[in-house]
């Protein structure tokens, strides 16, 4: 991997400066059954295509942001800071 990622704070930077925390998943609203919990904690859609994912600028400004990346080409279509109302999460 050697593509560039556009940090909302710092601009385009080498992907090696970042940590990827995987695709954005949604945290259940209430106690899920075991199947639902397992799905949320362990299973990922792993799409071949555009995926919304969490990135952290670990060796930079240390900010978390969201990116839309095509997993087939590593083309990053969009990066943005999370909105307060995102209501989304992942198991990290």
């Amino acid at each position: 991997m050697s593509f560039l990622l556009n940090c909302p704070n710092c601009g385009p930077r080498d992907v090696n400066e970042f940590a990827c925390a995987g695709e954005v998943t949604s945290r259940p609203k209430a106690l899920p059954d075991l199947r639902g919990l397992t799905d949320y904690v362990y299973f990922r859609r792993n799409v071949a295509g555009v995926q919304r994912e969490w990135w952290y600028h670990r060796f930079g400004c240390e900010i978390w942001f969201l990116a839309e990346r095509d997993t087939r080409t590593n083309e990053v279509l969009k990066t943005e800071l999370p909105q307060a109302s995102a209501g989304t999460s992942s198991a990290g």
Binding site: S2, D14, L37, V41, Y56, P82, A91, G92
Partner: protein, 864 residues
């Protein structure tokens, strides 16, 4: 012998340079390469072939082919034709048993038998199986090129540098320099990279000698500049890599004395060397034929010029003796010569373009592969783009002659025409399969010389054309690169606390914990532990992660992150917290002190600090609460003063009432200690009355000294990490990562009081509820050995001959005089006094399960 001085020669005859080769001193001049100096001294054989160990000479003389690779000052596989001479260098031939002239392994060329055809090792060395070790030893000895000097140690240091430029031009030939100049004239920032020392230019930066080794994803261009790897990012990449002279395939084409035109041109023009006496030129283009003028000027008589464009011969073969060219046979005519210049035209060097995503197609009319459909930020100029004079398309191979020997398709791997034909006959008829089976194009030349000729041969043998055969995938690196350069210099940091030097001065044994250097012990771990029980000890805990969490939502934020409750805490109080994931896994632990209504001070484990901070920040990004976290890990130092006499010591130094009423167990107070502003946390993770002082890092040594000075009469002594482990084990405190793993949760780890399952939500709540529902599978318990033996950490617990758990911590407690530990056991064993057997040294040792702390089980000393 050199020619008379020429106007544009590269050498400076007033500056001789001497180096050693095969036990003799060779003299060249400044401006020479090791290869040119050797050639001028009369050396013609530069290497031995990979497989047949045939003599090989300077074929391309421009750093492309494998023929001049030698060991220079211990570094193997140096292409001496482009390696500048340096005074006193030690140059050795490689891949020979004996000398270049008398290589014992050359026997393979004469008696190869079944051990030479392509892929022979797949067929001949598979049985009998029992002989494999022998085969393997043989193969290991003959495989590969060059030898590493195992005793060399670290002789070079490599670095990586990240660079940005607007325009990056790869290649310093005419087209490259023109492109660079015009971009610079348009006001762009330009860097030009050239593998052969292009001269500097006022208008733009020149990096030379340096090689672009590939174009990677995102337009990353790593450039090998010797000891530095530049990782270039450019808005526009201009590829001006030129074209590669192609050899012709005919029997005897590997003899010493057969050269590509460029080799002859460089020998004559740059180093003023006469390349031979009688020359024959066979060329598909004007460039090759034009070498004749240079040869005549050098005093070499050109006895025959064969222009493949007008009268291509059917038969072309070279004969030699002792590996050197003696004559060329052309359509039945034998012409004596010692120099044969062959040119099969020039192939655009498109590899970098193909790596960048360009399409490569065969142009049947011109007989070359041409790049097209370049990505928008990449441009090709000059010969690399296919701009070149017309040339004849040479025959795939020529008819041979008696005594002319093998016809080589690939000189790197010694693949012959016969090998390729055989591979096709065996079914490896696609170029990608053929490449892998025969290894053609996989040698050090990276296909520069063999790619197009092998495609031509594949086309003819498959009765199709080059277009249908197509190319193999172009992959980086485009040029060989030292592994050291790719590895670069290690950048792992070493973290030291602000009290670090005091530990060293005290003679502490230091150890790694993550990136931190910490004191393992100062003299004797057991004595240091005992001193904490009996008097007072002090430990540097500056490595703890320290976070300030503040804002109107601070309490809510922490209640969501931790299974614990924090909203009900009074200001100035402390609570132990265990951080978990939604999978229920324990990820870290530490203390949380409420400093204000909206302000909490959180400590984490030493090695978990970075992870916890990222974790906090991430959940904060997810929830978008009105809270901020500040990382104070490096800004603050911390020491833990522990032991029954710690109160007395602190009473002398602190500005607060240190009585149990003044600061009781789990109180947090801000005050001055020895004049230093401190946050005092009354916690006792080592099991005795204790105070943890957090204060600004720069005061580290001062406060440490003050504590030791004012505590001297109380018998204060510093203690290290090892005595701390003994002490906390006596209290049965878990060590995250040591006593827990990716399956551990707070319920089974014996801390159900942590998890407030009646809270509406917290990270990990659902997983814990499911654990409760399914029942416990194993539990973390303490154990006490019935005899004094200390079982190994990781040791197995056995019940009725079956595994029933594992030991995670074990130590001999000097205070209790017993061997104690922690272990995960099956739930039926998790009761006070249960007897377990632990594997020790092949036998079993008996232990009893304990559920309460081994020392001060009711915590009376802590609270005292």
């Amino acid at each position: 012998m050199r020619l008379p001085e020429q106007l544009n020669e590269r050498i400076d005859r007033s500056r001789p340079v001497r180096f050693f080769f095969a036990g003799r001193v060779v003299e060249g001049f400044e401006g020479d390469t090791i290869g040119s100096a050797l050639f001028a001294s009369g050396q013609r054989v530069f290497s031995r072939g990979f497989k047949y160990h045939r003599r090989r000479g300077l074929l391309c003389c421009s750093g492309g082919c494998p023929n001049c690779m030698m060991r220079v000052d211990g570094v193997p596989n140096v292409r001496v034709c482009t390696e500048p001479v340096r005074e006193g260098a030690h140059v050795h031939a490689q891949n020979v048993l004996g000398s270049l002239e008398h290589d014992l392994l050359a026997a393979v060329d004469h008696f190869g038998g079944p051990f030479t055809p392509v892929g022979f090792y797949y067929r001949t060395m598979i049985r009998p199986r029992s002989l494999w070790p022998l085969y393997e030893r043989f193969l290991r000895n003959v495989a590969g090129l060059g030898r590493l000097d195992k005793h060399a140690g670290r002789t070079r240091r490599f670095d990586t540098e990240h660079r940005r430029t607007e325009v990056l031009v790869i290649g310093g030939g005419r087209s490259g320099r023109e492109a660079a100049r015009s971009a610079a004239a348009a006001g762009r920032q330009v860097v030009l990279v050239d593998e052969r020392g292009a001269p500097a230019d006022g208008a733009f930066e020149v990096l030379a000698p340096a090689r672009a080794i590939g174009i990677y994803e995102g337009g990353l261009v790593p450039v090998d500049a010797g000891n530095v790897l530049y990782r270039f990012r450019a808005e526009r990449i201009v590829v001006a890599t030129g074209a590669l002279e192609q050899p012709l395939l005919f029997p005897g084409n590997d003899l010493v004395g057969v050269h590509l035109p460029g080799a002859v041109r460089r020998l004559v023009d740059e180093w003023s060397i006469k390349p031979g006496e009688r020359a024959v030129i066979v060329s598909a283009d004007e460039r090759g034929l034009a070498v004749a003028d240079k040869l005549e000027r050098a005093g070499t008589s050109v006895v025959e010029r064969i222009d493949l464009r007008s009268a291509p011969p059917r038969q072309l073969a070279a004969r030699g003796s002792r590996g050197r060219l003696r004559s060329v046979v052309v359509d039945g005519r034998e012409i004596e010569c010692d120099l044969l210049v062959m040119s099969g035209g020039r192939q655009p060097a498109y590899s970098l373009l193909a790596q960048a995503g360009a399409r490569v197609e065969y142009d049947a009319e011109r007989g070359i592969f041409v790049p097209s459909d370049l990505p928008s930020n990449v441009e090709a100029v000059g010969s690399a783009a296919g701009e070149q004079e017309p040339a004849a398309v040479p025959a795939a191979t020529f008819e041979g002659a008696e005594g002319a020997g093998r016809c080589f398709v690939c000189v790197c791997e010694d693949v012959t025409e016969k090998d390729v034909k055989r591979a096709i006959a065996e079914g490896f008829d696609s170029i990608e399969l053929g490449k892998r089976y025969t290894t053609v194009t996989m040698g050090p030349c990276q296909g520069r010389l063999c790619h197009v000729p092998s495609i031509r041969l594949f086309a003819r043998e498959n009765e199709t054309d080059e277009k249908a055969i197509g190319t193999t995938t172009a992959r980086p690196p485009w040029a060989p690169v030292s592994l050291g350069l790719l590895a670069g210099r290690g950048h792992e940091p070493t973290k030291r606390t602000s009290i670090h030097h005091r530990h060293e001065e005290a003679g502490a044994t230091m150890m790694w914990t993550g990136f931190w250097r910490r004191a393992h012990s100062y003299e004797h771990a057991a004595n240091e532990a005992l001193n904490v029980h009996r008097g007072v000890g002090v430990i540097d805990v500056s490595t703890l992660g320290k976070l300030l969490v503040q804002g109107p939502d601070a309490a809510r934020f922490l209640e969501l992150l931790y299974p614990n409750r924090f909203g009900d805490m009074k200001v100035g109080r402390i609570r132990y917290g265990v951080l978990g994931t939604d999978a229920g896994r324990i990820m870290d632990d530490g203390t949380i002190a409420r400093l204000g209504e909206d302000q909490y001070y959180v400590t984490t484990t030493s090695t978990g600090a970075d992870t916890v901070i990222e974790w906090f920040e991430w959940w904060n990004a997810v929830w978008g609460l009105d809270v901020e976290t500040v990382n104070l890990t490096g800004a603050l130092a911390a020491v833990n003063v522990a032991g029954p006499r710690s109160r007395e010591l602190l009473g002398r130094l602190a500005q607060i009432d240190t009585s149990n009423e003044g600061i009781s167990y789990l109180d947090a107070k801000e005050t001055y200690v020895a004049g230093v502003p401190c946050l005092i946390l009354r916690i006792g993770f080592v099991g005795e009355l204790g105070y943890e002082l957090h204060f600004a890092s720069p005061y580290g040594e001062y406060l440490w000294d003050a504590l030791l000075e004012y505590g001297a009469d109380l018998g204060i002594r510093p203690f290290g990490l090892e005595p701390q482990r003994i002490l906390r084990l006596e209290k049965m405190h878990i060590l995250v990562g040591q006593d827990t793993d990716s399956e551990s949760n707070v319920l089974e780890a014996g801390m159900p009081w942590i998890a407030k399952l009646d809270k509406e939500d917290f990270v990990g709540k659902w997983a814990l509820e499911h654990v409760q529902e399914r029942g416990f599978r194993e539990q973390l318990v303490g154990f006490e050995m019935t005899d004094g033996v200390v079982p190994a950490e990781g040791g197995q617990i056995v019940l009725g001959g079956r595994p029933a758990g594992r030991v995670t911590s074990s130590r001999l407690s000097p205070q209790l005089g017993r061997a104690i530990g922690m272990a995960w056991v099956r739930p039926e064993l998790a009761h006070e006094g249960a007897e377990i057997d632990i594997k020790v040294n092949g036998g079993f040792a008996r232990a009893c399960v304990r559920l309460k702390p081994f020392f001060d089980p009711e915590g009376e000393r802590l609270r005292s």
